[in-house]
């Protein structure tokens, strides 16, 4: 655990040192703020309800694009520059390394989400707001980010090239994000149910409506875990193939 935190801390430093974190925060707040407040067809003034649903809706998409951008550098750059080889000769296991990367990305997203809390405070003064739904909405965003971080780190381990990593993460992600949902509508029976279960949007919607079900929690966490597991298994193969 200590090693994971040391690596996560270093990663967070490099996020902030490289301006990556600031650019991401500004863009995230800009996008979500704009679509939540400004007349954009789905802003809260049009809906005329004290709810954060418009924010959750737009953050659902913003995070989908931002998470891969944050994770693409993680492992790919360390592989390219050779620092990975050196780091893994230090008392760090593959799991600790990957988990550290995961934790740092998730923490940065948590910071971004915390910075949107003023939206919540403002809206709660405009009218009666469902506090439970807000809480679970935030939880949903965080869980979704965890799932995409897992996928992103996996993609970053597959390739030494950051662009390939980001595209691969988006490619895998889009299936969970929307394609499974669309497919599930057209397919009935057992297969349909499986695909429906795999769709991230269904799980996200039920959480953001305020229903926190263990099934949904398990869903998000297992995607994240699967991503990290894939990443670790690729790292452990380096012993067989790398020059």
């Amino acid at each position: 655990m200590k090693q994971i935190w040391i690596i996560a801390k270093k990663e967070l430093h490099s996020f902030f040192d490289s301006l990556m974190a600031y650019v991401m925060l500004v863009l995230f707040l800009g996008f979500t703020g704009f679509f939540t407040w400004m007349p954009s067809g789905q802003d809260i003034f049009l809906i005329n309800q004290a709810t954060l649903q418009p924010f959750f809706g737009i953050a659902y998409w913003t995070l989908f694009f931002f998470v891969p951008l944050l994770t693409m550098r993680g492992v790919a750059e360390e592989k390219r520059s050779g620092t990975l080889e050196l780091l893994l000769t230090k008392p760090v296991t593959d799991w600790q390394f990957v988990s550290g990367k995961f934790l740092s990305t998730l923490l940065l997203i948590a910071v971004a989400l915390v910075l949107t809390l003023p939206y919540y405070f403002t809206i709660s003064r405009l009218g009666p707001i469902d506090h439970g739904a807000v809480l679970s909405g935030y939880l949903g965003l965080l869980l979704m980010s965890a799932a995409y971080t897992g996928i992103g780190i996996f993609a970053s381990t597959v390739s030494k090239n950051q662009i390939v990593a980001v595209l691969l993460a988006l490619l895998i992600g889009i299936f969970f994000h929307i394609i499974f949902d669309v497919l599930a509508r057209g397919i009935s029976g057992f297969m349909g149910e499986i695909i429906h279960y795999l769709s991230l949007s269904t799980h996200f919607e039920s959480i953001s409506r305020g229903v926190i079900d263990t099934k949904d929690l398990i869903y998000f966490l297992s995607i994240a875990f699967a991503g990290l597991l894939g990443s670790v298994s690729i790292l452990s193969k380096r012993s067989l193939s790398d020059a």
């Binding site: 690596i7 270093k10 490099s14 050779g82 050196l86 893994l88 000769t89 008392p91 296991t93």
Partner: protein, 309 residues
């Protein structure tokens, strides 16, 4: 902690980068690892540092196997890879702190240990700079500092002095020698003088196999067991002198030698010396012996002999 390499083999596809090599390095020994490019030096070092698993064979450090307990081994080794990878966006001090923390150096000792390394490796003036701003020599020093920071029992250095200026090379060699008195050190290099100056023992490896193992002195002896003399004799006719030398019983072969002082190159039979006989020959014939120089075999020649085959 002793390093024991047992029948280590590492294949890349069908090619054997390292082919069934075994050797032992004892505590308090500095082993120099020599070989032409692609001989398998780096591969062996990577196997020792758990960077990757051997195809077959094993490496044990202090009786702990690399295959069974890599995590335990990682605590005891310091490694400077050939390419010296560093986090270029980090400042020197931050990077050393990060490495110290990873090695579990307690918080209260970390600061002093980092500063000690900065001092030892001559990074005083650069410690606040970003690693990306450093010249190659300074980056190499940072690489050394991170390898030494946890005071490892075993030190693996892949070409440690590349990019350093001559003063720094001397300093680093002294440092390695000092460390080598108590620890186990393996260093690879392509500079033969460096290996000779720093190492207690030399291992020459070629095409994945060990071709020589011993001190610099031993290697020279095995490379040319015969005495070789450069002789200049005046006062007589060249060919006459040539046949006279050839008739000395201990002489194996004589060649004309053209150089600053033209003369003969006399090679004696194994284990014999011809110096006295040559002198006696000159006295008997009334010639003047103006030069009699024993020729040392250079380590370069040893290296070439062993690796050109």
């Amino acid at each position: 902690m002793d390093i024991v390499v047992e029948n280590l083999t590492r294949k890349y596809g069908a090619q054997r980068a390292v082919d069934d090599i075994s050797f032992t390095v004892h505590t308090g020994e500095v082993l120099g690892f020599l070989g032409p490019n692609g001989a398998g030096k780096t591969t062996t070092m990577k196997a020792i540092t758990t960077s990757f698993a051997p195809t077959s064979g094993d490496v044990k450090i202090g009786n702990i196997s690399v295959l069974d307990q890599p995590e335990e081994i990682k605590k005891h080794i310091g490694y400077l890879p050939e390419s010296n990878p560093l986090y270029s966006e980090m400042a020197v001090l931050d990077y050393l702190h990060f490495v110290a923390e990873l090695h579990g150096i307690p918080r209260d000792k970390r600061e002093s240990r980092v500063l000690e390394m900065v001092n030892v490796c001559g990074l005083e003036g650069e410690k606040h700079k970003l690693i990306s701003e450093l010249s190659k020599g300074y980056r190499q020093r940072v690489g050394l500092a991170q390898a030494l920071i946890h005071d490892p029992e075993v030190l693996i250095l892949d070409e440690p002095t590349t990019g350093l200026d001559p003063n720094q090379i001397v300093e680093i060699r002294e440092l390695i020698k000092k460390i080598g008195r108590e620890k186990t050190v393996i260093l690879s290099s392509h500079i033969l003088a460096e290996v000779e100056a720093t190492c207690d023992r030399i291992l020459i490896i070629n095409k994945g196999k060990i071709v020589a193992d011993g001190t610099a002195e031993e290697l020279r002896k095995t490379a040319r067991g015969n005495e070789l003399l450069r002789v200049t004799i005046e006062g007589g006719e060249k060919n006459e002198i040539f046949t006279a030398i050839q008739s000395i019983p201990t002489v194996e072969s004589v060649n004309f030698f053209a150089g600053d002082t033209p003369g003969f190159e006399v090679s004696s039979a194994n284990g014999k010396s011809s110096r006295k006989a040559i002198f006696q020959l000159c006295v008997d014939n009334g010639w003047f012996l103006t030069a009699l120089i024993p020729v040392d075999t250079k380590l370069e020649d040893v290296f070439r002999n062993l690796t050109m085959k």
